[in-house]
Symmetry: C2
Subunit: 150 residues, 2 copies
C-alpha cells in the first residue's frame, strides 16, 4: 500500500518551497532538477497544488512558484486528500465483488483509512521542516549535484 507518486512528488515540492527564503520564488525546472521529477509531470502537480491554494504561481520573467499560504497552515491530511485520486483502500467495483452490498470488510477498511488520515492531520508542512535535519544542506547538495551532472 503506497501513496501515489503524484502525492509523493507533491509533498517533495511543498517541502522544497517551505525551506526557501520568505517571498522568494523558484522555478519548476529547479524543483524538477532537485528531485529528478519529470518536468511535464511537475507542471501538472504545480497547477493542481496552485488551484488548491497551496502554491502561488507567477508566470513570465521574474516569475516562479512559492507557498500559497504559511507552511504551518498547510495540513498534511488536506494535501493528501487533494492529491490522491481515491481514498478507498480497495475498489470493490473492479472487478465487481458480488458481496459488495453486504460486506463487513468495507467498514473495517474505512476505519483503517480514517486512522491513517487522522494521524496525518496532526501535522503541517512546518512540522516537517522543523523535524528534518540538515534540510538546506541536503537540498544544496542536490543542487550542486544536479549542476555537476548537467
Amino acid at each position: 500500500m503506497q501513496l501515489t507518486k503524484y502525492t509523493d512528488f507533491s509533498l517533495r515540492t511543498l517541502i522544497f518551497l517551505a525551506v526557501q527564503e520568505p517571498e522568494s520564488r523558484v522555478t519548476i525546472t529547479q524543483v524538477s532538477e532537485h528531485f529528478q521529477i519529470p518536468r511535464n509531470h511537475l507542471i501538472k502537480i504545480v497547477h493542481h497544488l496552485g488551484k488548491a491554494g497551496f502554491i502561488d504561481t507567477v508566470r513570465g520573467k521574474g516569475g516562479g512558484i512559492r507557498l500559497g499560504m504559511p507552511a504551518q497552515e498547510i495540513n498534511l491530511r488536506a494535501v493528501v486528500e487533494t492529491t490522491e485520486e481515491t481514498l478507498q483502500p480497495v475498489n470493490c467495483a473492479a472487478p465487481r465483488c458480488p458481496i459488495m452490498g453486504g460486506c463487513g470488510l468495507q467498514g473495517m477498511l474505512f476505519n483503517a483509512q480514517e486512522a491513517f488520515m487522522r494521524e496525518l492531520e496532526k501535522y503541517s508542512l512546518a512540522d516537517i521542516t522543523q523535524r528534518s535535519s540538515n534540510l538546506p544542506q541536503l537540498l544544496n547538495w542536490s543542487s550542486e549535484n544536479a549542476r555537476f551532472q548537467a
Copy 2:
C-alpha cells in the same frame, strides 16, 4: 492510496472460504468464477496464502482449498502484511530523494501507516463474516450468475 489488487483478491478468497461448510473444499475455479479473478492470478495468491498457513490445499481429485486455520485466528493485519509488497507509504528511493537522510516526513508517514495497521489488527476474518449481511445469498447469487453466463 489503495491496497494492491493482490491483497484485495486475497481477502475476497478468504471471505469465500470462511462461509463454506466446515471441512468442505472448493476449487480455485469456483473462487475465480465467483469473484471474476483471473485463474492464473488466483493460483499465485492461493499458493502464497497456503505458504502463510491461511489456506490449506489438497491437490488432485477430490482436492481443493479451505481455510488453513479457524477464521477467528486469521487476523487482518497479518493477512495484509503477508500480501502487500511494501508497507512503506512512499518510496523515497525512486527517484532517490535528496533529503531522504534527514526528512521529517518519513516518521509521520510511518505513524500514519502504523495507525492503519493497528486498526486492521482489531479484526479477524470471522469478524468480517459476522458483520456481513446476506453473505451466503450474495455468493449464491454470484454462483448462479456465473453458471448462467457460462
